[in-house]
């Protein structure tokens, strides 16, 4: 299994491959992942140039541990297969499929990725896949999409197209996205993959952005697509466990381990009732804290 399937992906930042200035050193802002875009951000006549920049960027630039995801063009175009060849030849970490609606969409991409890995001598299984759901049908099929491939690490909501399909618009309240978000996180967890929220496009409303991130964090999402490095610190702040959370999680894990040996099932930590059901959650908090660089402990 590719060890990166479950890596930390709190912030996934879109970058237009048509603009070399944007893709040359986005790692200084420390996003967890970048999504190098060959799709919507790139003008139709610049698709070739964008692929050229993408390939050389992947080959030449040391992204210092930031995951490099490539968003390919839609499967309804004649561009996506060449996009995959170019991205895999360059050595990307993952492919993001836009407008995914079925498990078959994922498998078509998977087959093209396998072929490209062979063609360019890249290790089998080294390229992961994520699927963006951008329509009512895609959201309805979330579970089958999540379960379609061993390479698929997660699904992401694309709110703009999705709300269009729903015949509504982004309101800023999140009401129109509520159903899709809830459905997708449940499907992703059922399939054991990650789940990411859509972009927040109003860069002037940083308070609204914060509320949006707090909402999806509470809902259980693993992270959020972002469009500007200014949004990164807020996402990381909200997704990174607080010192209080970490101390509590440490106590829970230690106490459960100790009490289990003593044959005790239920007990209290800091006045809260704790049993084995809390174990995984506490372990996840510590793992997230460790991956976020705020926990150096040994649990």
């Amino acid at each position: 299994m590719n060890p990166n399937l479950k890596r930390l992906r709190r912030s996934m930042m879109f970058l237009n491959c048509q603009k070399p200035g944007l893709i040359k050193d986005p790692y200084i802002y420390a996003p967890d992942s970048i999504m190098l875009d060959l799709e919507d951000a790139v003008a139709e006549r610049e698709k070739d140039a964008a692929r050229y920049s993408l390939y050389h960027a992947l080959q030449e630039i040391d992204y210092r541990g930031v995951e490099r995801v490539v968003r390919i063009n839609g499967l309804d175009t004649d561009l996506w297969e060449e996009d995959i060849r170019c991205a895999v030849a360059g050595g990307c970490d993952a492919i993001r499929i836009p407008k995914t609606e079925t498990a078959e969409d994922v498998r078509r991409v998977e087959n093209a990725v396998i072929a490209a890995e062979k063609e360019f001598g890249r290790e089998d299984g080294s390229t992961l896949i994520m699927a963006a759901l951008e329509s009512a049908k895609g959201v309805m099929n979330a579970f089958e999409v999540c379960s379609a491939s061993e390479r698929l690490f997660g699904i992401a909501l694309s709110g703009g197209d999705y709300t269009k399909d729903l015949q509504t618009t982004i309101s800023g309240t999140g009401v129109e996205l509520m159903g899709a978000r809830q459905h997708m996180i449940i499907a992703a967890r059922a399939a054991g993959v990650q789940c990411f929220d859509t972009v927040y496009t109003n860069l002037k409303d940083m308070d609204g952005f914060r509320r949006d991130v707090e909402t999806i964090h509470t809902m259980g999402f693993d992270g959020k697509s972002i469009i500007n490095p200014r949004q990164i610190p807020i996402v990381h702040e909200i997704f990174t466990p607080t010192e209080k959370d970490i101390i509590f999680a440490e106590k829970v894990v230690r106490e459960i381990d100790t009490k289990k040996a003593q044959g005790i099932g239920v007990f209290t930590v800091d006045g809260k009732m704790i049993d084995i059901a809390f174990y995984d959650g506490a372990k996840r908090t510590l793992a997230l804290a460790k991956a976020s660089g705020v926990y150096k402990g040994d649990l």
Partner: protein, 516 residues
């Protein structure tokens, strides 16, 4: 001969100019010199009128002649109309071999390039030049030398008589008919006219040019009638919307915001950050953002600034309005907020001499705790280059960079690691304008480097663990790992310009660029 920053200064330039190579910041400390005095044309007749009808009349009355030196200030920046107005008239008179001694020249003055090419202007002294004038000088079009001086260095040069100004033209937003001048109250306000104070004191003739004549006496006057020979009223002295170069809106560029945050963290975690500290910052996006984030921390911690110096911008004036700084000392206003803020009673006008002159008995810069500066390049010796582009073309100005850098106890230079695809942190700057001995901390988007001469600052920042600390060599290596090691710019042998140190010694020379 090699100078103290390792730059080779050709013997012929030393003998041509009579200057010495730079020997370190305090080489001239306490060395006495004779101040220069102007020739004065007294006015005793109470019927005497100082009003002239045209620039031409002023030039004729001031005995304009071949080979003379004329001076200007740059308070109107890219909105300045005075330099072109006067130089056109000098050109029309057929005068040649003029030394243009402006406090700075910008793109607004590109109309003088043909005058450089036809020998009307044969030498230039300025803080710096930009655009086509810089290209003309770097391509060898100027017959004589261009001397680039800091704002303080220019005052020294005029006071010491090294620059002998024949006629000073002072653009004045308001003037009365007797020559009391001010930077406010007119239709083309620039707030202060500090840079012209030394010209008013030392030039043989002083001509005020205004587009707003006000009743006598125009008081308080920033420049007194006692120094002004003639007053010329014209339709417009500047373009108001081009006077303000400061960013009216705070930057949203995350890279600049990141560097601003590092800079603020450096300030608040070094020992001078305490009640009563003093501070100066520039007009760049990161500098302005840094002042804004510093304000937040000052409010949180209840720390108040004693005085701020400028080059002032809105965020500095906001500090004054919020009561977070006791007084502002103003040598130039970078934006319209700073221009209007001079009405605040704790916002004081100071002359360029009071601000930064190294040859008076102590300037404001000497009392600075922090200065935040920018730079085109910084090398591993912490030398900065703010004048010559990495392509070898003169494209910037020293401004108060060397003055404040030497004066401040903690000099912080903000510089992105890469300027486009050119490494800004490099092994050797193209041209040294500010010596590394004046620079304490370099803030980049890839981390912060502390000059090894300042172990105290390094220790404070290590202890605070507030910014990613790197050595300057590490920053250079990261830059080169991205761009490759750049080939040095190729120059011809001919020296076209001198970068003068504050004390008048030679910091570096600028040579003619090789055609591509």
């Amino acid at each position: 001969m090699k100078n103290a920053v390792g730059r080779e200064i050709p013997e012929e330039i030393l003998s041509l100019t009579g200057k010495e190579p730079f020997q370190g910041n305090n080489y001239k400390e306490g060395v006495p010199f004779q101040r220069s005095a102007p020739t004065v044309h007294p006015v005793m007749d109470n019927q005497h009128s100082k009003i002239v009808q045209s620039i031409r009349e002023a030039l004729e009355k001031c005995n304009a002649h071949d080979g003379m030196t004329v001076s200007f200030h740059h308070h109107f920046r890219e909105g300045d109309l005075i330099v072109n107005m006067v130089m056109n008239e000098i050109h029309n008179m057929g005068l040649k071999n003029i030394k243009l001694a402006a406090t700075s020249l910008g793109k607004a003055h590109e109309a003088i390039v043909p005058m450089i090419e036809d020998g009307t202007i044969t030498s230039i002294e300025a803080s710096g030049v930009r655009g086509k004038i810089g290209e003309a000088i770097s391509n060898g079009k100027l017959q004589g030398l261009a001397i680039m001086r800091s704002h303080g260095g220019r005052v020294r040069s005029v006071f010491s008589g090294e620059t002998k100004v024949d006629i000073a033209f002072i653009g004045a937003p308001t003037s009365d008919e007797y020559g009391n001048l001010s930077g406010t109250g007119g239709k083309t306000n620039c707030g202060v006219i500090s840079y012209s104070a030394v010209d008013a004191d030392c030039a043989d003739y002083v001509v005020a040019i205004t587009d707003c004549l006000v009743p006598f006496p125009n008081y308080p006057a920033q420049i007194s009638m006692t120094n002004v020979d003639y007053v010329c009223v014209v339709d417009a002295i500047g373009i108001p919307e081009k006077i303000a170069t400061g960013a009216a809106k705070p930057t949203t560029d995350q890279r600049k915001l990141m560097m601003a945050e590092y800079c603020t963290q450096v300030v608040v975690n070094t020992p001078y950050f305490k009640d009563g500290f003093s501070y100066q910052t520039g007009v760049g996006g990161a500098s302005i953002a840094s002042t804004i984030s510093l304000t937040r921390i000052m409010e949180e911690r209840g720390v108040k600034m004693g005085f701020g110096i400028g080059g002032l911008t809105k965020p500095m004036c906001d500090l004054l309005e919020k009561g977070l700084v006791n007084v502002l000392m103003d040598t130039q206003a970078f934006d319209l907020d700073a221009v209007t803020n001079i009405e605040n009673p704790n916002h004081y006008y100071i002359t360029a001499s009071e601000y930064a002159n190294p040859f008076n008995k102590g300037a404001f810069v000497n009392k600075l705790d922090y200065v935040i500066l920018a730079s085109l390049e910084v090398d591993v010796h912490f030398n900065c280059n703010v004048v010559v582009g990495s392509d070898g073309i003169i494209t910037g100005a020293q401004g108060g960079h060397p003055d404040t850098a030497q004066g401040a106890k903690c000099t912080i230079v903000i510089c992105p690691l890469l300027q486009g695809r050119i490494p800004a942190i490099c092994t050797d700057v193209t041209t040294v304008t500010t010596p590394g001995e004046s620079v304490d901390i370099v803030v980049t988007d890839y981390g912060v480097a502390v000059n090894p001469n300042r172990p105290d600052l390094l220790e404070a920042l290590q202890k605070a663990d507030c910014v990613p600390l790197k050595t300057i060599e590490e920053l250079r290596d990261i830059a080169y790992s991205i761009t490759g090691t750049p080939d040095p710019v190729e120059f011809e042998d001919r020296v076209v310009g001198i970068i003068e140190a504050r004390d008048g010694t030679i910091m570096d020379v600028v040579r003619q660029v090789k055609p591509l």
